[in-house]
Each structure stands twice: as C-alpha cells, then as structure tokens.
Amino acid sequence: MKKFPLVAVPVLLFTVLIVFLFQGLFSDPRELDSQATGKPLPDFSLPDLMQPDTSYGPDDLTGKVRILNVWGVWCVTCAVELPYLTKLSREQDVTFVGLYFDQDLDPDFGTKTLSRVQQEVTDMLSRYGNPYAFNIFDVYRDMSLDLGVTGAPEHFVIDAEGIIRMHHIGDINERVWNNKIGPLYNRLRQQNRSLEAAE
C-alpha cells in the first residue's frame, strides 16, 4: 500500500480540474469585472500625442459623453475597427478620444523616437480613417494601468461628469455597438442634453 498515494495523484488532480471546468461553464469568459466602472477617471496629466506641448487632465474629459479608446498602431484589431469608429463619429456624431500607448517606445530606454511614432500614427489614421477628437499620449502607460487596461483595443464610456460608465474589452463592430455600447451611449447623451436644456 506504500505506492498507493502516488498512483492516486492523477485522479485527484483530475477532480480539481473538473471542478474548475464546471465552474467555468457558467461564467462568460468575455465578461471582465472592471474595477473602473462607476468611478471617476483617475487623476492624470498627459500630453497630446501630436502636440506634446498641449496637456490634458480629467477636466478635459467632462461636459460631454465620450468614448475613450485605448489603441496603438501595433494593434491589428485596432486597425480593423478604425473604419467603423470613423463611420460612427461621422454619421452618429460619436466623440472618440484616443488613449495611445506604444509598446516599443519607452522615453528612457525605448528604441523608437516620438517623431517616428507620430509618423506611424499619421500613416495609419490616413489609411483607415481618423475618428478621434484628440489623442492622449500615455507616455509611461500608467494611465492605462490605473484604468485597468488589459490590452488593446479597449473602450471606456465616460459620461459628462467624467464618470466611467462602461469598460468594453475588444473591438467595436456593428453588433457590439448596436447591442451593447450604442444604447448606453445614446441614453447618456440624451440625459446630458436634457440637463443642458434645463439649465
């Protein structure tokens, strides 16, 4: 019987695995519990991507309903969604603000220069369309960290008070917009307009 515990190891490991798989069945892997939802934007002070002299803070993202889009030129899915975002901004007047971060560009150790990044961004936007009102450059990626960004593209719906109302992981396509983001965005915009009208 001395050998028994060892041969029983596989069946025990298997049991643990099954428990997890069973639990996994009843949760949606695409659903992320975002820490950011319902809270105001974290404090930040970051430069504009194209004009580094201009800088933005949380106050620049209030007064209007906006979608903060985390993206980068290195992100393939971002390139795929750009034309649709552009269409949304033109046809439905949706305001997008880019939160740009680059993987290779580290101001202290990076291999890419800022002007090179700007050139790539300009190329990509002229090729696929530019939906952005402006782009915030997340130099040290700390804003992304504060927001709990897990990758790109990701989207934050921010209401007129600067509160994050939704954190969407992945791209925006027609289906996502019509079923998930669009209704919330339009409702928030409606509320904001009626508030403004009341004042």
């Binding site: 050998k3 596989p10 298997f14 099954i18 798989l21 996994g24 069945l25 892997p29």
Partner: protein, 667 residues
C-alpha cells in the same frame, strides 16, 4: 424522408453501442464464448448505422434540403458542390457526426484487424469503445442532433457556409484531426481492458502500439493541415497562434508522442508499465478535454463553436465518467504493477524516460497556459490572458534537452551504455552540428542566436540519425553490399528514423521562419513597386471577378529579383454575398527555401490598396516535417510484426510469442 432515415439510423447506432458496451464485457467476465462473439457483429453494425446516418446528412446537403435546421444554417443553394459536401462538418452538429463516424471506423477496424489477439481481450476493448460511443451518441441525440427539422416553416435558402471554411484545407483538416483525436480512444480502450483484466504484461503494449502510431500520424497530419490552412487562409501570415483550439489538439499530440515511446519501452523491456497505462488514459482524456474546450465555450477563441452550457455540461459529464473511471481504475490497480526491467543510469530506458518527462512537462505547460485564465478568474483573482510569448519561451527551454536526448536515445543500448564507447561519435556529431549551423547562420547578413540554436538542434538530430543507421548496418554480420544491408532494416526502424528526421525538418522551418522572416505593410496604388528582401513587388492592377457565391477584387502582382521575373501572383479580396463577410485569399509562391506572401488589405482612396507583403524563409519545411513524421508512422505500422494474424499463427507454431519480435529492434 432521407433525414428521417438518418435520424433513425443514429438512434439504432445508439442502441447497438449500448449492446456493445454490455454484452461482450459480460461475456469476457463470465468466459461465455457466445456473448463474446457478439462483439464483432455489433461493432460492424455500429459502423454501418453511423455510416448510413452520415450519408443521409451528406445527401441532405447535396440536395439543398433546407428543412433541416443544420443544413439551412451551414449551406446555400449557390455553394459549389464539393463545399456542400464539406459543409457537413462545417458546424457543431455535423462535425460531431463526423467525430462519431470516425469513432465507429476505429471500432470496426479494431474488430476486423485483431484476429490474433485473445478473444476475451478483443471483447473487452470493443466493449470499452462501446461505452465511449454510448456517451457520444447520447450527446448527439439529446443536445446536438443534426437532423433537427424546421418543418413546417423552412427557409427558401440557407445562410451559407462560413467563407473561412470554403477551402481545400478545410475539406481534409477536420477528418484527419478527428481521426487522430478519436484514435486515442483505442489506446484508452486497450489500457482500460488491460486494467480490467489484470493482465498488465507487455502484450497489451504490443497490441496497442500500431493503433497509437496510426492515431498519432493522423493527428500530426491534422494539426499540420490546420496550421497550413491558418497560414494561407487567414491572411495574417502566421502558422501557429497558441490559440486554445490549437492547444486543444496539440496536447493530445504531445501526450501521444510520449505514449508512443513509452509503449516501446513497455513492449521491449517490460519497464514503465504503470506510466504507459497512465499516458494512454491521459492521451484520450486530453482529446476529450480538447473537445470540451472547443465546444463548451469556456474559453475565448477565434474558432470555437457556438457555446451552449448544456452541451458543455454533457461533454464534461462524459469526461468525468470516462476519464474519472479510467483514472480511478488506474489508482486501484496500478499499485499491483511491477516493472521488472533493470537498467543503468545511462541507457536507452533512461533517455526515453527523460523525453517522456519533457513531453509531459510540455503538455502541462500547454494545459496550464490554456486553462490558467479560467482558473485565475474562478479563484476571484480577475481576468488574465496567457499569450504566445509565454508558450514560446517555455518551449524554447524544453526543446533543447529534448533534442539532446532525442539524438542520444537511438544510439544508446537498452539496459546499459558505456559512455566511452560513444564518446567520439557524439563529439563528432556535436562538432559537426555546431559548425554546420554556424555556416548556415553566417550566410545571413544578421545572424540570430536563436536560429543558430535551432539549426544546431536540427543538425544534431540529422547527424545522430545517420550515425545510428550506420551503427545498425555496421553491426550486421554478413558481407552484403551497403544497399542490401540498408534494405534489411525493418520498416518500423525506418519509421523511427523518418519520424525523427521529420521533427528535425520542422525544427529547421520553425527556427528560420521565426528569426528571418521579413514583412512590410504598405499602401500601394497600381503601377507602384515595393522592394523587400531583394525582391521587387510590382502592383499592376486590380480586376473585378465574380465567383459562384462571392465577388472578388483580384490584385495583379509581378515579383522580380535582380530584374528577372520570379512569379506572377494574384491575391484576392473576396466578399461573400450571403454572409456579407470579407475574406482574404493570399497570393503565395512557395519554394523549398522561401515563401513570397502577398495579402490584400483594405481598399483606400484613389484606387490604392493596403497591401501586406511577407518573405518567409523555409516556412514550408514546418509542414513537410509533419508529413515526414506521419510517413514514418505509416512505415512503422506496415511492419510485419504488427500483423496480428501472422503473429497468432507463429504463436501456435512456436507456442512462444517472444521469438517473433526479436527481428525488429527499435524504439
């Protein structure tokens, strides 16, 4: 009418599988010959009814019978005929029917080709396969029946097959993959039968070896085809993405590779018995786990089937019952196993064990990497993702010792090897492989260490394989010519050599393409030329083309090198009209040393297009290597010593089966 026949056949197949699961096993338990004799006819019946059911579904597709919900969702009257046939396995229900068809093919093959194996053993094996079948036929009939009808209201036309699947690679990829997946059920059945009967000697290893090699070969081809398909059809130029679905097929392959080698030790040396049984259970359990992952929606993947918790729950149930039962049986019985084989620290046994451990470690890495996001989330630690860099790094660490052992293994003797006897040979092989890799690397303007490492490993396998063949024919005690001696080596020996060389070829492909590929994303208007890696790509024109069920823009490209025309390529951008889905058909020119790859991106203003151009050195070697490995498998199976009937006759003559296996000495 025809769909109803299909449905009834499927139900009959379930009934037959229940009988198969019960009667022969009962017969084997009671030593009742008549009951055991039912195994073969029942297996044939199982195959027969499943085949009828499958043919009915094919017929429904070919005749555009949109009264079937499954046909309406996956076909269209304008779909070309050959794609109508392959659309049968284009969705969850139909692909599962293919899955059970494969299972019944393996079952009937075991029934027909096992005449040399004792009656009771065959009965048990077929019964276990019957139990596996019961689960899956129930699953089909209860949760995913392809014959579900939409009558009385049915659509006029179908929703069309996913354009990604309208492709040659997709015609053969799923059948091959499923043959491999399901094939491990035979090894599982043999292992369980051996555990049930308590006859855990080396004979079960010899009986199940050809089946494992066959399943493994199919799986190799299936995985390679999937990778090749992703390469030219997705238009991203990648050939492996560490996607959960790819991982799901890769895990049984790794476990199967370990099993194949471990079986060899068990058969020849009667060692590793307990370990081999566990691997046989594990390989099939991982196949089941893969099926679960792909079809339950627990994991995000580009190509998982529509998720439905009840289906997932059902497959999980099957997994719990089959694997749980197998592992429990193992826990109860394996402690009785004693491996009498004695061996020293430097011997073929130890090297094979080392590689088994590494293969299992690799399997665990893939398993953990695939499941970690799930576990992490369920523990309430939040969502994470595990990406390609993790897997790439882990595999780089694992493959180096693996290749070292792989080269050494065939050269060393069973039981004990004196280091001194091999030292010069090994030093020569090592020196040669490093210098060869160095020379090849130097021919690139920017040599990469990783590529050099990969090449060294590949040459190491190549050179040690040659040394091994030379050693083998040098040991022959006759004066035949070289050629005649080479022909004396057994097919299973050549199988091993081919398998190893195939791996080396794949390794060359992977290391060169990962380190030396070049790519450019450019905006091109007709008439413009872009140069990359010494080639000039000229974009001539774009022409419109009307396909049977799609509209296409075809880019006309000419590729030049040093002013001479190399090739004319026509990458396409298709829009499939029914599903409104754009598709990229890359233009690829393959030679042994490099692939030119052009993919059309999006149309831009003024007639310009976004174009992606790659030069991928030696990429085709990756899939050639897999083909060579599978060929090695085929070679091994063709070996005479696996022909059971002959073996049985010899057994009667000599009444001592061991004498017949002395001829084939291989690992």
């Amino acid at each position: 009418m025809v769909p109803e026949i299909g449905n009834i056949s499927l139900t009959l197949a379930l009934v037959v599988s229940i009988l198969l699961a019960v009667y022969p096993l009962w017969g084997a338990y009671r030593q009742h010959d008549t009951l055991m004799a039912t195994a073969r006819p029942l297996a044939i019946g199982l195959f027969f009814f499943t085949l009828i059911s499958f043919v009915c579904l094919v017929y429904a597709f070919v005749t555009d019978d949109f009264s079937l919900a499954y046909v309406a969702q996956h076909s269209n009257s304008r779909l070309p005929l050959h794609y109508k046939v392959t659309a049968v396995w284009g969705g969850h229900e139909g692909s599962f029917l293919l899955w059970v068809l494969m299972l019944s093919i393996w079952t009937v093959a075991v029934a027909l080709f096992s005449r040399g194996i004792p009656h009771a053993m065959v009965s048990r094996v077929l019964s276990v396969l019957g139990m596996v079948s019961v689960g899956f036929y129930l699953f089909m009939l209860l949760t995913s029946n392809p014959f579900d009808s939409m009558l009385p209201f049915f659509p006029v036309d179908g929703r069309d097959l996913n354009p990604l699947l309208q492709d040659f690679g997709m015609i053969i990829h799923p059948p091959m993959l499923y043959m491999g997946y399901v094939g491990f059920s035979v090894a599982f059945a043999f292992a369980i039968s051996a555990l049930l009967s308590g006859q855990l000697d080396s004979t079960w290893a010899r009986w199940s070896r050809p089946w494992v090699i066959a399943a493994w070969s199919f799986l190799s081809v299936g995985i390679a085809l999937g990778s090749w398909w992703a390469y030219y059809e997705l238009g991203w130029g990648g050939w492996w993405f560490w996607d959960p679905v790819e991982n799901a097929s890769f895990m049984p392959w790794l476990a199967g590779t370990a099993l194949m080698h471990s079986l060899a030790v068990t058969e020849k040396r009667k060692a590793f018995k307990s370990w081999t049984v566990l691997l046989a259970i594990a390989a099939f359990s991982l196949s089941l786990l893969g099926t679960f992952l792909v079809r339950s929606g627990v994991i995000v993947s580009v190509h998982s089937f529509a998720s439905d918790p009840t289906r997932g729950l059902f497959i999980l149930g099957i997994l719990v019952i089959l694997s749980g039962f197998g592992l429990l049986l193992y826990a109860l019985r394996a402690s009785q196993l004693k491996s009498p084989g004695r061996y020293q620290a430097f011997s073929r046994e130890v090297l094979l064990m080392g590689n088994n451990v590494l293969l299992c470690a690799a399997t665990l890495v893939v398993l953990l990497g695939t499941l970690l996001p799930l576990v992490h989330k369920e523990l309430g630690l939040g969502s994470i993702s595990v990406g390609a860099p993790f897997f790439n790094q882990m595999f780089t660490w694992l493959v180096v010792p693996f290749v070292l052992f792989l080269g050494l293994g065939p050269l060393t003797r069973w039981k004990q090897q004196h280091v001194a006897a091999l030292r010069n040979q090994l030093l020569l092989a090592f020196g040669l492989s490093i210098s060869a890799a160095f020379l090849v690397s130097m021919s690139y303007s920017q040599p990469s260490y990783m590529a050099a490492l990969g090449l060294t490993m590949a040459f190491w396998i190549l050179i040690t394989s040659i040394q091994e063949v030379l050693q083998r024919i040098g040991a022959m005690q006759d004066n035949d010519s070289m050629l005649r001696r080479l022909r004396k080596l057994t097919p299973s020996h050549w199988g091993m050599v081919l398998g190893h060389l195939g791996f080396a070829v794949t390794l060359i492909g992977i290391s060169l393409v990962s380190n030396y590929e070049v790519e450019r994303d450019v905006r091109m208007a007709p008439g413009e030329t872009v140069s990359l890696g010494g080639y000039e790509f000229t974009f001539r024109d774009v022409v419109k083309h009307q396909g049977p069920n799609y509209d296409a823009d075809i880019g006309i490209f000419d590729v030049f090198r040093n002013g001479e025309k190399v090739v004319h390529l026509e990458p396409e951008k298709r829009m499939y009209t029914v599903q409104r889905m754009p598709m990229t058909e890359a233009g690829i020119h393959s030679t042994l040393t490099r692939d030119l790859f052009i993919a059309m991106g999006e149309p831009l203003e003024n007639g310009a297009w976004a174009v992606r151009i790659y030069i991928k050195p030696f990429v085709i070697w990756i899939w050639c290597g897999a083909a060579i490995m599978a060929l090695g498998g085929a070679c091994s199976i063709s070996d005479r010593r696996y022909r059971m009937a002959k073996l049985a006759r010899l057994k009667q003559t000599f009444s001592h089966p061991q004498t017949t296996t002395q001829t084939g000495e291989q690992s």
